[in-house]
C-alpha cells in the first residue's frame, strides 16, 4: 500500500524529538500560544513554564503513534467541510488566538476566561492515546494537554451540576462549513460529571509537542479516549455545567445512530456498519482491520463508570 516507511517516525527518534521539544521548543509553543505571531513580543515566563510538558507513561499506550501527516491530514471536522482532507485544506481561516472561553451554568467559576488564564494553573502532560472513530477507523495520537477534572475542580461546580456541556465556536467566516446545514451548528458535546473528572479525560492544546494545528481543534479540544472520536469536541468556546443531559449534535442529527454516551463498544454495531473491527490508519497492512476493544482498550480504567447500565440501550 501507500504507507511509506518514512511516514512512520521511529519511536526513539520521535521520543528524542519530543524531549527536545519539551525542553526547548516548548518556548516556541508558548510564544505561539501567547502571541498571534511567533516571537513577536517578549515572552511571558510563566507561560513558558506552563507549556513544558511531561510524558504521562501511566496513561500512554506503547503502540506506535501515527505520523503527523496522517493525524493532520485525515480529519473529521465538518466545520471545515465533510471530506477527510477538507479540514487540512480549509482550516487556515480559523484564528485560534486570541481565544476566550465562557464558563457558565451550575458552577462558582462563571465568567469569560482568556485561553491563557484558563490554562495557567495546569501542568501539561503528553498522553499517547488510541483514537477510535465511529466510522471504524483508528489512530494513535500523542496529545499534549491536562486533565479535564483539574479544570472542573477549579471551576467549582455546584451540587446541581450533573453534566458538562461543551460548545464549538460558531462563526461561518472562520468556519466555512457552517454555511451549509449539514449539522445543527454550533457543535455541542457533553459528558456526565463522573466521566468529565475521570483522569483519562483531557483537554488537549497540542499534539506531537506542537500547538494543536487548526484542523485538529485548535486551540482547545476535548479528548475522551474510551469514547468514539466525535465526542472529542474541537475549538471549544463554552463550558457549561448543567443539571440535565446536554442535547449533543450527532445524537440530535441521527438519534438512532449516535447516542450521548458513545462509548467504544464492539458488541453494539452502528445501524449501518459493524463496530467489531477497525482499520488502523497507517498500519501498512493490506488486510487491514483489527479487532476493536471494549471501551477502546480502556475498560480497566472506565468500565466501573457504567456498571449496571445497559450499554446496548445507552449507546
Amino acid at each position: 500500500m501507500r504507507i511509506r516507511p518514512s511516514d512512520i517516525t521511529p519511536e526513539p527518534i520521535y521520543r528524542a524529538r519530543r524531549e527536545f521539544l519539551a525542553g526547548i521548543a516548548g518556548i516556541g509553543v508558548a510564544a505561539a500560544l501567547a502571541q498571534p505571531a511567533f516571537g513577536e513580543q517578549v515572552m511571558n515566563v510563566s507561560l513558558i513554564e506552563r507549556l513544558q510538558y511531561k510524558r504521562n507513561a501511566r496513561y500512554s499506550t506503547t503502540e506506535s503513534a501515527n505520523s503527523l501527516a496522517d493525524i493532520t491530514g485525515y480529519n473529521n471536522f465538518y466545520e471545515f467541510g465533510t471530506g477527510k482532507d477538507d479540514p487540512a485544506r480549509n482550516a487556515g481561516s480559523l484564528r485560534p488566538r486570541p481565544w476566550s472561553v465562557v464558563v457558565d451554568g451550575e458552577c462558582e467559576g462563571k465568567g469569560r476566561y482568556t485561553l491563557e488564564d484558563l490554562l495557567k494553573p495546569h501542568a501539561l502532560e503528553e498522553r499517547i492515546y488510541r483514537l477510535r472513530c465511529v466510522e471504524a477507523w483508528s489512530m494513535v495520537i500523542p496529545w499534549v494537554g491536562f486533565p479535564l477534572g483539574d479544570l472542573v475542580k477549579r471551576l467549582k461546580p455546584t451540587s446541581r451540576a450533573k453534566f458538562v456541556e461543551f460548545t464549538t465556536l460558531m462563526d461561518p467566516k472562520q468556519m466555512p462549513g457552517q454555511r451549509s446545514h449539514v449539522l445543527d451548528w454550533p457543535y455541542v458535546e457533553g459528558l456526565r460529571m463522573d466521566e468529565a473528572i475521570h483522569p483519562l479525560a483531557i483537554l488537549a492544546v497540542g499534539l506531537y509537542g506542537q500547538v494543536l494545528p487548526n484542523q485538529n481543534g485548535a486551540p482547545l479540544r476535548l479528548v475522551v479516549p474510551w469514547k468514539y472520536g466525535f465526542k472529542g469536541i474541537k475549538s471549544i468556546v463554552r463550558i457549561r455545567f448543567t443539571e440535565s443531559m446536554p442535547a449533543t449534535t450527532w445524537a440530535l442529527s441521527a438519534p438512532r445512530e449516535y447516542g450521548f454516551y458513545a462509548n467504544v463498544n464492539p458488541e453494539v454495531d452502528h445501524p449501518r456498519w459493524s463496530q467489531k473491527r477497525e482499520r488502523r490508519i497507517g498500519s501498512g497492512s493490506l488486510l487491514s482491520r483489527q479487532p476493536t476493544a471494549q471501551f477502546n482498550g480502556y475498560a480497566a480504567e472506565v468500565a466501573s463508570l457504567y456498571s449496571g447500565m445497559d450499554l446496548a440501550r445507552n449507546f
Binding site: R2, L183, S253, D269, R279, G282, L287, S288, R289
Partner: protein
C-alpha cells in the same frame, strides 16, 4: 464510401479512445498506489480506493442510462454504439468495488461478509444492484442479443432497478452530508423521468393512431371510397 469511413472511424478510433478514457480512474488509482504524488491516496488508501471504484461504478451506470436520451436529443444515433461498452464498464467498476470490499476491506472473511449483507440495508441494496447487473453483463454479446430476441430488451430493463438500488446504496452510506448522493439521485430521476415521459407519449400516440384507425374503418364501411383529389 463516406458511410464506410465513419464506421471504420467508430471502430478503430472513437471506440478505442472511449475504452481508454474509461480506464482513467483505474489508472489514477494505480498511479496513487505506485506513489505518484498527484494521485495521492491519503491516510486511508483502502477507503479511498473503495470509494473511487464505487463512485465510478455509479457514474458509468448513469452514463449508460444517458445514452438513449442523449441520442434522441442530439439526434446522434451513433451514440448507441458506445452503450454496451459503457454498461460493461459500469459492471467492471461495480465488481471491482465489491471484490475490493470482499478481499481487502473484509479480508475475505465470509462470515462477516454475510452478516454485513444481511444486516446492513445499505450493503444489502448495493449487493442487490451488483446481482442485477450480472445477467446483463453475461447477455451483452451480439449472440445473446440474437438468441434472446425481444426478451433481451425486457431483461435489460433490470438496469433501472439496479441504478435505483445503486443510488440508494450511496445515499444510505453517507453520515450526514447528503448533498453529493442527492446529485446522483437527481440525475437518475431525470433519466428515468424522461423514459416515463417518452413511454406515455408513445402510449398516447399509439392510442390516437388506434382511434384514427377505428374511425377510418367505421367511415370506410359506411361511405363509398372516393379517390382523394390530387
Amino acid at each position: 464510401m463516406l458511410q464506410m469511413n465513419t464506421r471504420l472511424a467508430m471502430r478503430w478510433i472513437a471506440k478505442p479512445l472511449v475504452f481508454l478514457l474509461c480506464l482513467l480512474p483505474v489508472g489514477w488509482l494505480l498511479a496513487g498506489l505506485a506513489g505518484w504524488p498527484a494521485a495521492e491516496l491519503g491516510a486511508n488508501p483502502i477507503e479511498k480506493i473503495q470509494d473511487t471504484l464505487g463512485i465510478w461504478g455509479l457514474r458509468f451506470l448513469l452514463t449508460t442510462l444517458a445514452v438513449t436520451p442523449l441520442r434522441e436529443l442530439l439526434g446522434w444515433p451513433r451514440l448507441l454504439g458506445f452503450r454496451r461498452m459503457l454498461g460493461l464498464y459500469a459492471f467492471f467498476y461495480v465488481s471491482m468495488h465489491f471484490l475490493f470490499y470482499l478481499l481487502v476491506d473484509q479480508s475475505l472473511d465470509w462470515r462477516l461478509l454475510l452478516e454485513d449483507i444481511a444486516k446492513r440495508p445499505f450493503i444489502t441494496v448495493g449487493f442487490s444492484a451488483l446481482l442485477l447487473l450480472i445477467p446483463l453483463a453475461v447477455t451483452s454479446t451480439k449472440r445473446a442479443m440474437r438468441r434472446l430476441g425481444r426478451r433481451w430488451q425486457r431483461l435489460h430493463r433490470l438496469v433501472y432497478p439496479a441504478a435505483i438500488l445503486a443510488c440508494t446504496h450511496f445515499y444510505w452510506q453517507v453520515k450526514a452530508d447528503i448533498r453529493e448522493p442527492l446529485v446522483y439521485v437527481l440525475v437518475l430521476a431525470v433519466l428515468l423521468g424522461w423514459r416515463l415521459y417518452r413511454y406515455r407519449q408513445r402510449a398516447r400516440r399509439g392510442r390516437a393512431e388506434q382511434d384514427a384507425r377505428q374511425y377510418q374503418q367505421a367511415t370506410d364501411a359506411r361511405l363509398p371510397v372516393e379517390p382523394l383529389p390530387e
